[in-house]
C-alpha cells in the first residue's frame, strides 16, 4: 500500500478507536497524546541533536502554568493561550541552550537536572502563591472554541488527536529537513558538519527551542486534560519518565517515541491490579524491554522487517 493509504488507515483507526472504550480509557489515551509530544520533543533534542536533558518536566510545568494563567488571569481565549504557551516555553528553551554551548553530554545532563529542580522549587514559593497557587496548584479551565467547551472525555480526545497530529506532522517535517540532518551531522561528526557550513550555535539553539516548544505544548495539553496543575507533578520522576519513553521507543526515531509514550502511559494502568508489586513490575518491564529490544521497540520492529521478507512485501520500503 502507498504511504498516503497507510496514513488514511491510521487516521481512521484513531477516529473510531474511542467507540466502545470506557471514558477513563479514552482519557488515558488523551494523556498518552500529551506524552507523545513530550517524548518527541526530547527525542529531537537528545536523539537527533545529541543534547541530553533530564529536566524536561520543567518545560511541561512552564507550558501548563502559562496556558492556564493566560486564560484565567489575562482572560485569553484557549485557541490563543494554548499556542502562546508553547511559544513562550520555546523561548525558555534558550535558558538551557546557553550552558549547552559550553558543556558536553554528561555535564549538560547535570545542568538540565538543576534547571528541572529549580523550576519545580520556584513555583510553590509563597511570594507568588496568589498566582501559582503554591503546593496546591490551580484549577485549569477546559479548552473551548467560542462557546463550544470541550468537556467530555470524547470531545477532549478528538481535540487532543488534532493537536497531536498537527504537531507530529511539523516535527516530522523538521526532522526530515536540512535542519534534522544538521542536528545529526553535528551529533556524529561535529568537525565535518562545521566544515560543510553548519553553524553549531544556531542549530543547538533550534534544537532547544523546538524541544521546549513541543514539551510546553505537551504540558499545556496535559493541564487542560486534567483540569488542574500543581508543582508536585513535575519532579525528577516526570523528567525520567519522558527520558524512558524516548529510550524504550528507540532513540533517534520519532515513531519509536510514539510507541514509547503510549506504552509507558498505559503500563501503570495495566499494572494497577498488582498493587504492592506495582513498582517492582514496572521496573521489571523496563529492564525486559531494554534487554530484549536494545534498539527500542521501534528498532525491534525495524529489525523484524529486515529479517522477514513477508513483512517487506506487506509494508514496501518508503511507506
Amino acid at each position: 500500500m502507498p504511504r498516503g493509504a497507510w496514513l488514511a488507515v491510521i487516521a481512521l483507526v484513531l477516529i473510531v478507536l474511542p467507540f466502545g472504550l470506557k471514558g477513563y480509557t479514552i482519557y488515558v489515551l488523551s494523556i498518552a497524546g500529551a506524552n507523545i509530544l513530550a517524548a518527541v520533543g526530547l527525542n529531537l533534542l537528545m536523539g537527533y541533536a545529541g543534547q541530553v536533558s533530564i529536566g524536561q518536566a520543567a518545560f511541561l510545568a512552564i507550558g501548563g502554568y502559562t496556558s492556564a494563567l493566560l486564560m484565567t488571569r489575562l482572560g485569553l481565549e484557549f485557541w490563543l493561550a494554548f499556542p502562546l504557551a508553547g511559544l513562550l516555553t520555546g523561548a525558555t528553551g534558550l535558558i538551557l541552550f546557553i550552558p549547552a554551548l559550553r558543556l558536553s553530554a554528561i555535564y549538560l545532563a547535570i545542568a538540565t537536572l538543576g534547571f528541572g529542580a529549580a523550576v519545580q522549587q520556584l513555583i510553590p514559593l509563597p511570594y507568588w502563591s496568589a498566582i501559582f497557587g503554591g503546593h496546591q496548584g490551580i484549577k485549569v479551565p477546559r479548552p473551548h472554541l467560542g462557546s463550544f467547551v470541550f468537556d467530555t472525555d470524547l470531545e477532549l480526545y478528538y481535540l487532543t488527536l488534532v493537536i497531536v497530529l498537527v504537531l507530529l506532522a511539523m516535527s516530522w517535517n523538521v526532522a526530515r529537513s536540512y535542519i534534522g540532518r544538521a542536528f545529526i551531522a553535528l551529533r556524529d561528526k561535529p568537525a565535518a558538519a562545521e566544515a560543510l557550513g553548519i553553524n553549531p550555535t544556531r542549530y543547538k539553539a533550534y534544537a532547544f527551542v523546538l524541544s521546549a516548544f513541543l514539551t510546553g505544548i505537551a504540558g499545556a495539553l496535559q493541564a487542560h486534560l486534567v483540569g488542574h496543575i500543581s508543582p508536585g507533578e513535575f519532579g525528577l520522576g516526570k523528567s525520567i519518565e519522558i527520558f524512558a519513553m524516548v529510550i524504550l521507543g528507540g532513540i533517534g526515531s520519532l515513531p519509536g517515541s510514539i510507541l514509547g509514550a503510549v506504552f509507558l502511559t498505559f503500563l501503570p494502568h495495566w499494572l494497577e491490579q498488582a498493587k504492592l508489586l506495582y513498582t517492582f513490575l514496572y521496573g521489571a518491564a523496563l529492564v525486559l524491554v531494554i534487554i530484549f529490544m536494545p534498539y527500542g521497540v521501534w528498532g525491534f520492529f525495524v529489525r523484524l522487517y529486515y529479517r522477514f521478507p513477508a513483512m517487506q512485501k506487506l509494508f514496501p520500503k518508503g511507506a
Partner: protein, 257 residues
C-alpha cells in the same frame, strides 16, 4: 589563491608546525607530503579553523581566514575531506550528499515545519542535484544505502562527492586513496584530474602513496618535523637529497654495509 605565511602550531611542548610558508595558485593540483607526524593534517586543520595557530597567517583570495569560524570557511569556497572518514554513518548516501549542499539550504524553519511550498521546492531541487551527481558517477543504486555498510573505497568517493556538492574553489583532500586497491586508486586519480580540468577546482591533497602523488600533482610540498624542506615538480622532489634523507633516515648508507 591560498597563501600560508610563517604558520606555526604548538601543542604543549610539541612544535607541530614551525613557520611553514607555501602558496597554492588557482587551477593547480598540489601535493603535501612528508613522513608520519610531519604536520600535514595539522595544516589542513588550521586552514579549516579547527585549531587556532600560535603564529602566522592564512590568506585565501585576499581574505584573512583566521578571522573566520569553522562553519564560515565553506562560504569562501574551501571544502575538505577527512583522513578518517568524515561521513555521517547513520545517514544514507543521499542524506550525506544533502548535508554537502547545506550552504544552499536556508528555508525559514517555520516554512520547513509547516511544509510550505518554498521549503519543499528547496528540498526537491537539492535532492535532484545530489541525484544528478550520483547518476553521473553511476552510483544511483546506492542513494538509499546506509553509509556504514559500504566498502571503505566507496565511502571515500562519497565523501569527495559530498565535498563537491558544497561548490568548492579549493578542495582539501586528506589521504583520498588510503585503503584503496590499485584499480580504485587509478579511478580516483582520473576523477581528481577531471574535477581539476573540467570543473576548474584547485586541489591541495595530503597522501602517503608516492606513486599516486607523483602521477597526479603539478607541484609537491614536502614537510618534515613541521618545516617545509622541499618544494617542486615530482622529478625534482625525487632527486632531492633532503627529501630522501627525511623518508629513509640519514643512517641508511651505514646500515647497508
Amino acid at each position: 589563491m591560498l597563501t600560508v605565511k610563517n604558520l606555526s602550531m604548538r601543542f604543549g611542548g610539541l612544535q607541530a608546525l614551525d613557520k611553514v610558508s607555501f602558496t597554492v595558485s588557482e587551477g593547480e593540483i598540489v601535493g603535501l607530503i612528508g613522513p608520519n607526524g610531519a604536520g600535514k593534517t595539522t595544516v589542513f586543520n588550521l586552514i579549516s579553523r579547527l585549531y587556532e595557530p600560535t603564529g602566522g597567517q592564512i590568506l585565501f583570495r585576499g581574505e584573512d581566514l583566521l578571522k573566520l569560524r569553522p562553519h564560515q570557511i565553506v562560504e569562501h569556497g574551501i571544502v575538505r575531506t577527512f583522513q578518517l572518514l568524515g561521513l555521517f554513518p547513520y545517514m544514507t548516501v543521499l542524506e550525506n550528499l544533502l548535508v554537502g549542499e547545506h550552504r544552499d539550504f536556508g528555508a525559514n524553519p517555520l516554512a520547513v515545519a509547516l511544509g510550505l511550498p518554498s521549503a519543499r521546492r528547496q528540498e526537491h531541487d537539492r535532492r535532484a542535484q545530489a541525484l544528478w551527481l550520483l547518476r553521473f558517477l553511476k552510483m544511483e543504486a546506492l542513494a538509499d544505502a546506509f553509509v556504514f555498510a559500504l566498502p571503505y573505497g566507496t565511502q571515500k568517493l562519497i565523501e569527495l562527492m559530498r565535498a563537491l556538492l558544497a561548490r568548492p574553489r579549493l578542495l582539501l583532500l586528506d589521504e583520498p586513496v588510503a585503503g584503496m586497491n590499485a584499480a580504485e586508486k587509478a579511478a580516483m586519480r582520473e576523477f581528481i584530474k577531471r574535477i581539476n580540468s573540467d570543473w576548474g577546482i584547485t586541489v591541495l591533497l595530503v597522501e602517503h602513496d608516492m606513486n599516486f602523488v607523483m602521477g597526479l600533482c603539478d607541484r609537491i610540498i614536502v614537510l618534515s618535523y613541521g618545516r617545509v624542506i622541499a618544494e617542486g615538480r615530482a622529478d625534482e622532489i625525487q632527486q632531492n637529497p633532503e627529501v630522501i634523507a627525511a623518508y629513509l633516515g640519514e643512517g641508511i648508507s651505514v646500515a647497508r654495509t
